[in-house]
Amino acid sequence: MQFWIIQTLNSLAMGGLLFLLSAGFSLIFGLMRIPNLAHGGLFMLGAYVGAMCMQWGVPFWLAAIAAGLAVGALGTVLEGGLLRRMAGNEQGQVLITLGISFIIADLCLLTWGGDPVPLDAPRMLRPPVFLAGFAFPGYRLAVLAFALIVALGLWLLLERTRLGAMIRAGVDDRLMARSVGIRVSRLFSAVFFLGAFLAGLGGVIGGPILSAYPGLDTDMLPLALVVVILGGVGSLPGALVGSFLVGIIYNFGTALFPDFAYVILFLPMVVMLVVKPSGLFGRVTR
């Protein structure tokens, strides 16, 4: 019993983390029509930057915000400097994001070395929480709560603000968005910043669970791909549901069939492709 409860909680915490990673990935994909293959790299960079800040004595949450802002700024620069020049050549843009991901991975290795860098959870969240006779790792509960708050915030942003309305219009129909006078290039910058910010933030939030290590990027990117294939491109509810699904499958898979966890993870993706290629909440056809 203990096993199932703890694993369920771990799954939900992992799902929350995945949401921070994939929400931005999905929005960028929906709006710009490109899978940002550097997204795993941005997540990893966020984890390292957060770890570095904390070594300088910056408190956890501040470090998380700082890492998010730094990674978000980098994302905006990359989008404006490299991707925008290739507007219209989506395949070229994807290859550039792939190139960026290799450079980020290599520079992280150069800067922080090959050993995993641990990130400590905030002190107040470290002790376990006792509920109905079970001990829960407090930090994982906090991650779950935090992810849900971010999800709510993003939902409000998308549904209730002018920027959100523009993003939704852009995801649904880019030409239409342009023809009603939305400055699409600015929108791209904004969404890229938001996506990169969330990835960087997610890297730090995930740090106490995953730590920062070389290869974190290529571990996370496929998870984001699977989330988006499951949930549907450009859909926030899709990213949320997909994240929790993947979190559950990944965690139980790793716990029960360690050799095959990675393969099991991709089975629902395969099923989804066969049954409904546009994903659970997909509106955009790929």
């Binding site: 899978p35 020049r85 290739m86 550039i96 290799f102 966890a261 991709f266 492709l273 290629p277 790929r286």
Partner: protein, 315 residues
Amino acid sequence: MTLRGSRFWALMSLFLIALPFALPSDYYLGIATHALVLAILALSLDILIGQGGMTSLGHAVYLGLPAYAAAWTMQNANWPPELAIPFAIAMGTAVSALFAVLSLRARGLGFLMITLALGQVMWGAAYRWVGLTGGDNGIRIPVRPPVLGIDISSVRSFYVVVALALMVALVCIWHLERSPFGACLRGTKDQPKRMNMLGHDVWSIRFLAFVFAGFWGSIAGVLYVFDYLYVSPSSLSLPQSAEALLMVVLGGAGTLTGPVVGAIIITVIKTVVSSYVDRWYSLLGLTFIIVVSVMPRGLVPGLKAWFAPKEGGAR
């Protein structure tokens, strides 16, 4: 027009024959062999990209999987190479058929994403399924076994095998390009809807192209494990798929020469760089960005346009 016909074949044969004499030592011939193995992989990927317009980021599957299959059956099941080789190629081709069915549910970047994800599945399996694959340690073959009684253990003799395989691959892919099927495949790249309206089965055309690519990729995979005498999860990894893609894009998609040139350049850069500094991934990434933004059509078509006579009055 691309360099075609007798001139191309004469130049390519001359190049492959001259290479062992031109290179100063077996060390360099070994590197040339690596490059030619990857050239076959790049050529196979170009069937998808250049002819079919389907950009795959999971093509390393067809390098690594047959390599594992050949290594495992020979090392752990004591199969003779004469049995292990066809088995490995059949397995790679069969998996390409399965993955084609899944990947072809989507087009364009969706296709790219699915091929990437499927590639990661295979990588994950190779890395984590330690009992079968040896995990990160991979599988090592102590010596290159003779095939059909022919000793191919020396660098020179194995170079001959790889060069011959490359020539056969070039001939087959050249035939494919100018065949009715090649024309149909290029048709599905430019105008899938029209091809459908003309009565073609677009899905099946793409499927067959995918399987062709898988087949030739598997040949490269078997040569790969005989070349390095070692296979590890990195042969199935995303960077390996990306390298193959870069070879095609750098050399020029849709040409016969392009992927070969791309494979040689990338292998040379990789070998030279990694003997000085350990920054291959940065360089790989940088090359990607430069090639895509400066020379999106690739070296071979780019140089040809450069040297071609300027458009004159005559049509």
